[in-house]
Symmetry: C2
């Protein structure tokens, strides 16, 4: 039984008469109450006239559209017939990419999927640049408009794919990092990046799409996943929902890798989280050859240790266009295992074959030649990209160790480690272990959960318990701020080698010293 | 203990820190919950950024402003200090006049009183003309704008008198007839005057002043008294509140006389109501010399049966400008008792002295000469005004008898009759009995309650139980539609004489037959 964010209720009301002169809207509300646990729905002023007129025009029978505003039913529309489909949009509001699905809210069926580059990129590739831009006159408004335009474009894509009008989208759930949510709501992000890193709001109340000038139906309910902190957004709350870590008896861990590395450890009794900047290396669209996990993205790479021959798999089995996050991790791990890069993550020209060439920014490794690629451009990995990945992986491991140390849980005590991230559908934990990004544990412990930000947004659209659980989670999760954590900085330095300065931590990974 | 429509809550919150990174708005909500029966207040999207920014700017301590939206607290503003006064406006939204008080919501003290002509009069003196105007292109919007302009003007007057800025008014309660409420909300009144006479809404949910483009604080809560039917508006619900008829053990009656005559009979067990057009005679500003009960209005008249000399009292003891409703009733009753008009309400030139003169529209009776009046214009009563009053009083009595007959209650069984009406502060029941407007009962039964529409709106501002009671009243009151009632039409004909064709009904009134 689904309890979607918006629902339809069929109504056949007795027409008004001299003997029953109840007002149109009051008549409709009264008919709805038995379907709403006895509650009379509220009608927001901007919808009052429309609902009442449509109810009358439909001859007092048809379908009421009810938004669920945190348990309170809100009556926002009336249609003469049951709509052929009640569509809701789940949105992963990423810093570089937006990804969305359109769901049939009556069945949960996926009607369409689409993604789009975040239109704010022109104002800065990374969040910090955008937060600074927001402080300029009109800066925040520009960023807000840009993201609304992108969301509208994505909604139009979804509508186009599913053969619906964009105004037929009646609900929107939004899962994003805290900064993106601030931009989306047009609220000042100034304090997000300044100690002590405080959001303007963690859990904004639901609003109507019209208030945000969204192109979907103006009375569509907009439900935003709450954040725990400036660097711990609704996207990770989505991850908790999708993984179910908050319901596990044994202690588990959830890792979400993107521009920020966000980690949560705990079980059904307690949850502790932290987050840190992992750098843009793993976020598609930022690294030069990086891309989202979409058609043409190389998601797995193998290098033959004897011949140096490269085998790869692309999503959709098409010609390759670039590397998504999992492909990048695979590639760098294989380069290390075949000793083409050293423990500091630097190319070893003496070991690399003719794939290593000099580019404008120094060495670059040709993964796919221009002849074999999708667009005539070679797919390459430069030293610059490698350096960025090294910072990212170091940050990730430092975050994991800092957090587990804080709570006094050893990695070996973890029952399961969920690995989320929109950057790659099928991250290979083994290769991440080789790089020293994830701890050296039996691989069965790792469970990739894909784009859990989007998965969480989908559950929010469909299930009231998920919405209630989100708000409980915000209260339940203890957040540790790493931006001012000295232990983290020390651990970060130690993690800037493959796999680590202390190679006893990674017994399963070959260690090539002193080169 | 007052439970006003808007309240202040003093907050001293711990500032955010690395150890407590709760978002600004969530921190504020959490601090408020213990003051709100544990409920977290909602924050409407248009107020989100303002509230959060003001809370931070005030150093996390100050005063939260909470609207009461039908029991649900809504956080709409934050001030650095306790405001010197928390002001709310109670409004009687009359067809011809608006009357309002400004209250200090913390103490209930009246800060200012003011009134104003309804700016819609240019679109038609009576409601029906305006409803027809609303059907023209832009007609409804014109009427809506006109009433908003008037309300804004009245709010400015109140603010001026009390030395406040108009934006310091933080709440508005509105008591008006159903049509005026439709105009105020910009919703179509088309069906109000067409069988079966159905309002678009009886009980609109509260909204924010900004949504209606009111000049008071944009986040001020606007609470509208609910209606029972097209001809039974929130103004009469106000009357029920003010009289307390719904709490009486014995059966009582409430009569509200204005453009419409609205009557309710019942007790704490049951309430039955009806309403009918009484004509504009008793509504100040419509009858030629009619005016509101304000300074210069003649409110009482005596004619010496021997000398024909006229004595009158004006409100404020100033020179007379016109007649308010109670003055009009007094005057006509005295003209009848001194035999200067006959039982059909026609002037008797043979009996009248030199005060009766020929005007453009026939006979007119000079109450005050131009020398004695306030503005150099004589105060006169024309045959046209008399005819209008006769229709009004006939309608009133017909309504009373139809209603009591429907419920099987004799007039003599009534424990008390409350007489309300903005048209006259001190209606004289005796003179209304002489005219055959009210039943011939011991005068002690009558209790004038003045402008109960405004009194009810004031209680709504101050008392949550009054707001809850209103909504219960709408469910409790059974409304009988008189527009299609044949019995009413018959009774109306019989009532078009002074006091009545059946003079046995009025034993205390002298009857002058056959003239």
């Amino acid at each position: 039984m689904l309890n979607p964010l918006v629902r339809v209720v069929a109504v056949v009301a007795p027409p008004p008469s001299l003997g029953d002169n109840t007002g149109d809207l009051d008549r409709l509300k009264k008919m709805l109450a038995p379907h709403l646990a006895g509650m009379l729905p509220m009608v927001p002023y901007p919808r009052l006239s429309k609902v009442a007129e449509r109810f009358r025009a439909a001859g007092f029978s048809g379908t009421a559209i009810i938004n669920d505003m945190m348990g309170s039913p809100v009556l926002v529309d009336f249609l003469p017939q049951l709509p052929p489909v009640l569509a809701g949009m789940a949105l992963d509001l990423g810093t570089t990419h937006l990804e969305a699905t359109l769901l049939d809210l009556s069945t949960g069926k996926v009607l369409a999927r689409a993604d789009l580059e975040n239109g704010q990129i022109g104002f800065g590739a990374d969040i910090l640049t955008r937060i600074h831009h927001a402080a300029r006159p009109e800066g925040l408004v520009e960023l807000h408009r840009a993201i609304i335009v992108s969301v509208n474009e994505l909604a139009a894509k979804l509508a186009g794919i599913s053969g619906l009008a964009v105004a037929e989208i009646r609900a929107l759930s939004v899962s994003g990092n805290t900064s993106m949510v601030h931009f989306f709501l047009n609220i000042n992000p100034y304090h997000l990046c300044r100690e002590p890193y405080i959001p303007m709001v963690n859990a904004p109340d639901p609003c109507l799409a019209g208030e945000l000038k969204l192109a979907i139906h103006p009375a569509a309910v907009v439900w935003i996943l709450p954040s725990v902190g400036s660097y711990f957004g609704g996207d990770l709350i989505s991850g908790v929902l999708a993984s179910g870590i908050d319901r596990q008896q044994e202690t588990c861990m959830l890792i979400d890798v993107g521009t920020n590395a966000e980690v949560i450890v705990g079980n059904r009794e307690w949850l502790i989280a932290c987050a840190g900047a992992a750098g843009p290396a793993l976020e598609g669209g930022v690294a030069r050859m990086g891309m989202r996990a979409g058609p043409g993205a190389i998601e797995h790479v193998r290098i033959d240790p004897d011949t140096g021959e490269i085998q790869y798999e692309t999503i959709g089995n098409t010609k390759p266009k670039g590397l998504c996050g999992s492909g990048l991790i695979d590639l760098v791990a294989e380069l290390y295992l075949t000793r083409q890069i050293d423990i500091r993550g630097k190319f070893r020209p003496q070991a690399a074959g003719d794939r290593l060439v000099q580019g404008n920014d120094g060495w670059q490794f040709v993964v796919v030649s221009s002849e074999d690629s999708a667009d005539g451009q070679p797919v390459v990995l430069g030293q610059v990209d490698l350096d960025a990945l090294m910072r990212s992986k170091a940050a990730m491991y430092a975050i994991l160790t800092t957090l587990t140390n804080q709570v006094g849980v050893a990695f070996a005590e973890l029952h399961r480690i969920y690995v989320a991230g929109a950057f790659g559908r099928h991250i290979s934990p083994r290769q991440a272990v080789v790089l020293g990004m994830l701890p050296d544990l039996p691989l069965a412990i790792y469970e990739p959960v894909g784009n859990s930000s989007l998965a969480g947004a989908e559950r929010i659209l469909l299930e009231r318990p998920a919405r209630e659980r989100c708000l409980e989670l915000v209260k339940k999760i203890t957040y540790i701020e790493l931006n001012v954590n000295h232990e983290f900085m020390l651990r970060f330095s130690g993690s800037r080698f493959i796999p680590h300065t202390d190679h006893a931590l990674f017994p399963s990974v070959p260690f090539f010293d002193g080169e």
